[in-house]
Amino acid sequence: MTEPNSTNDPVNTTSAAGSSAGSSFKAFFRSPAAGALMGFVAVFILFSIFGYSRNFLSVAGITTWVNFASLIGMIAIPVGFLMIAGELDISTGAVLPAATMTVAIICEHYQMPEVIGVAAALAIGALIGFINGFIVTRTRVPSFIVTLATLFAVAGLTLFLSIFFINNTNSFHHPPEWAKSLFGGKVYGFNSSVFWWAGLIAAFAFFLHYSPKGSWVFALGGDQESARNAGIPVARLKIALFMLCSTSAAFAGVLQVMTFSSATSQANFGLIFNTIISVVVGGVLLTGGFGTVMGIVFGVLTLSIVTQAIGFTEIDRNLSFLIIGVMLLIAVLLNDTFRHLATSWSGTKKK
C-alpha cells in the first residue's frame, strides 16, 4: 500500500529551497507593517514639502503631533491586540474621561495623595476591562455590542458621579511636583507621555512578537476553536486583553489630567475612531489573526500628522478628514491583498 518512489518529490524540494534565503526580506515587504511604514514616510515627506515654510519641521511642529500620538498610541496598541484576537473595544472613549475625573475628584476635591488617585483610576480601568471580557467570554454577544454598552454605561456613570461628588462635569487638577514631572512634564517640548509610550511600545512589542504567549493572541483570532483544543486558556487570555486595553486607556487618562491639569467627564468619541483607524492603517486585519505592534505605531503617527500637523502646512485644514478617509480605504485594500498573498504563497513561486 506504500508507494516508495514518487517522481515529483525532488523537483519540489529544489524549487522551494531556492526562495528561502530572501524570504524574510521579501516577507517584510509583503507585510502590512511595511505598508504602514511607507504610508507614514509618504505623508511625512508630503507634509515636509508643503509645510517647509510653515514650520512643520520645527520643534513645535513635531512635538504637536508626537504628543498627540503618544496618548492615542498607548491605547491603540492594546486595541490592536484585541483586533488581532478577533475582538473590538470601543469603550475606551468612556474609560479615559472616567480616569481623568477619578484623579481629579480624589486628588483635587478630596485632597488625597496622588498615588491613591492614580491607583484608583487604573483599578477602575481594569474593572471595566474585566466586565467587558467577562461578558464577551460568557455570552456569545459580539464585543462591539458589549463595549458599545459599557461605553455608554461608563460615560453616563462618569457624568452622574461627577455631578454627585463635585457638582461639576469638569475639574482642574494641579498635581504635586513629582507627579507633574513623572506623568505630565515636558522635555524639549515632548510630554512625559511620549516617553511612557516609548516604553510601552517596547513592552507591548516584546509581549506580542517575542514572548512565548504572544502566539496565543494570534491563535485566538486565527481559529478560536483550535486554540481552545490546543490548551490555550481562551477565556482568561481574552479577559486579560480587555483588561490591558481598558487599563491602558485609564493610564492615558492619568497622563492627560497630569499634563493638561484638567479633567472632563465628556465621553471622547473621537478617541474611538482614532484608535481604530490607527490600528487598521497600521495593517491589523479586521478579521483578526494578523498584525504588528510597529505597524500600529506607524498607523498612529500617520493619523496624528494628518490630523494635528496640517496647520503647520499649506494644505487646507479641512482636507485632513479626506486624507484620513482615503488612507483608511487604501489600508483596508492593502491588508486584504496581503491576506491573499500570504495564503497563496505557494502559488506565487516560480515554476
Partner: protein, 267 residues
C-alpha cells in the same frame, strides 16, 4: 477484553449537550501498543467521544480512567500534560501564522531567563520542518512560511506531525486521512503503526475501511451514540465491517440504491 494493560479506559460514559444526548453508555479500553479504530456514520458521536478523551468536553456521567485510576481532564491542557495528543477533525492550524509557531502552539519553546524568556523561533522552525518532512511533506523547508499558503493536506500533515511529536502515551486522530493523498495517507498509516510499535495507545477515526483494516487491532462501531459492535482484528470480515460503518445498512443495498438513482436521473 484486551490482553494488554489499558492506558485509557471509558466506563459507562454518557455525554449530553443540554437536552441532546450524544453519547450513551460508552465503555472502551485502549492499551499500550494498540490501535483502537472508532467507526461510525456521520453524526454518530465519534468526535464527541474523542473530545471527552482529550479534555475538551467532560462526560455528563461515567468515568475516564488513565492507567487504571479515575481521572478528570477538566481542560485540554491537563490531558496534554498526561501525554495525550489529539488531532481534531477540523482546524488545528492558524493560516496567518508561521509553520514554526503553528507547530508549537500552546507549548512554545523558549530561551532566556525569567520574564525575558523569548520564543525560540529558530528551534521551533527547525523542529517543525524536520517533523513535517518526516511525514513525507518534503516541499516544506522554511519554518517561517505562513500556513495559509499550504495545501489542505499539508496542513493536516502539520497537525498530525505536531501530535506525534507531543504525544507521549496516547495519540488520538480524528479522520486524519480525510484530506490526504494516497501517498500521504499511507505515511499516516505507517506513522500509526510506528507509534504502536513504540508502545503508544492510538485511537483512530476513519470512514475508510481500507485504512481501518490496515492499522486497527480493535474496532468499535458507534451508532447514534452507543456502541453497536466491539470486536478485535480478524473477528469480522471486511464486508461486515463496511456494513457496520455505513450505520448498519448493507453496502450492497447502498450500492444498489445509488445505481437506482443514477438510472432514474439518467433516464
Amino acid at each position: 477484553m484486551s490482553d494488554k494493560k489499558p492506558v485509557l479506559e471509558l466506563r459507562n460514559v454518557d455525554k449530553s449537550f443540554g437536552p441532546i444526548d450524544v453519547l450513551s453508555g460508552i465503555s472502551l479500553k485502549v492499551g499500550e501498543g494498540e490501535v483502537l479504530c472508532l467507526l461510525g456514520d456521520n453524526g454518530a458521536g465519534k468526535s464527541t467521544l474523542i473530545k471527552t478523551l482529550s479534555g475538551v468536553c467532560q462526560p455528563t456521567r461515567g468515568e475516564i480512567l488513565m492507567d487504571g485510576e479515575t481521572t478528570v481532564f477538566s481542560r485540554p491542557r491537563e490531558a496534554q500534560e498526561r501525554g495525550i495528543a489529539t488531532v481534531h477533525q477540523f482546524g488545528g492550524t492558524y493560516p496567518l501564522m508561521s509553520i514554526g509557531r503553528n507547530f508549537f502552539m500552546g507549548s512554545e519553546p523558549t530561551k532566556g531567563f525569567g520574564p525575558f524568556r523569548v520564543f525560540d523561533r529558530k528551534r521551533a522552525n527547525r523542529v517543525a520542518v524536520e517533523e513535517v518532512q518526516k511525514m513525507g511533506i518534503t516541499r516544506i523547508t522554511d519554518g517561517d512560511r505562513l500556513v495559509g499558503g499550504l495545501s489542505g493536506g499539508e496542513r493536516q500533515s502539520l497537525a498530525i506531525a505536531r501530535a506525534v511529536y507531543f504525544g507521549a502515551r496516547v495519540l488520538i486522530l480524528d479522520e486524519p486521512t480525510a484530506a490526504l493523498g494516497v501517498k500521504q495517507a499511507a505515511h499516516v498509516l505507517r506513522i500509526v503503526n510506528e507509534a504502536k510499535r513504540r508502545g503508544l495507545a492510538v485511537v483512530f477515526i476513519t470512514h475508510q475501511v481500507m485504512h481501518a483494516m490496515a492499522v486497527g487491532d480493535h474496532f468499535a462501531v458507534l451508532i447514534r451514540g452507543a456502541i453497536a459492535a466491539d470486536f478485535r482484528k480478524g473477528e469480522k470480515t471486511r464486508e461486515h465491517i463496511a456494513d457496520l460503518m455505513a450505520g448498519g445498512e448493507s453496502m450492497a443495498d447502498l450500492e444498489a440504491s445509488i445505481e437506482g438513482n443514477m438510472e432514474t436521473q439518467g433516464g
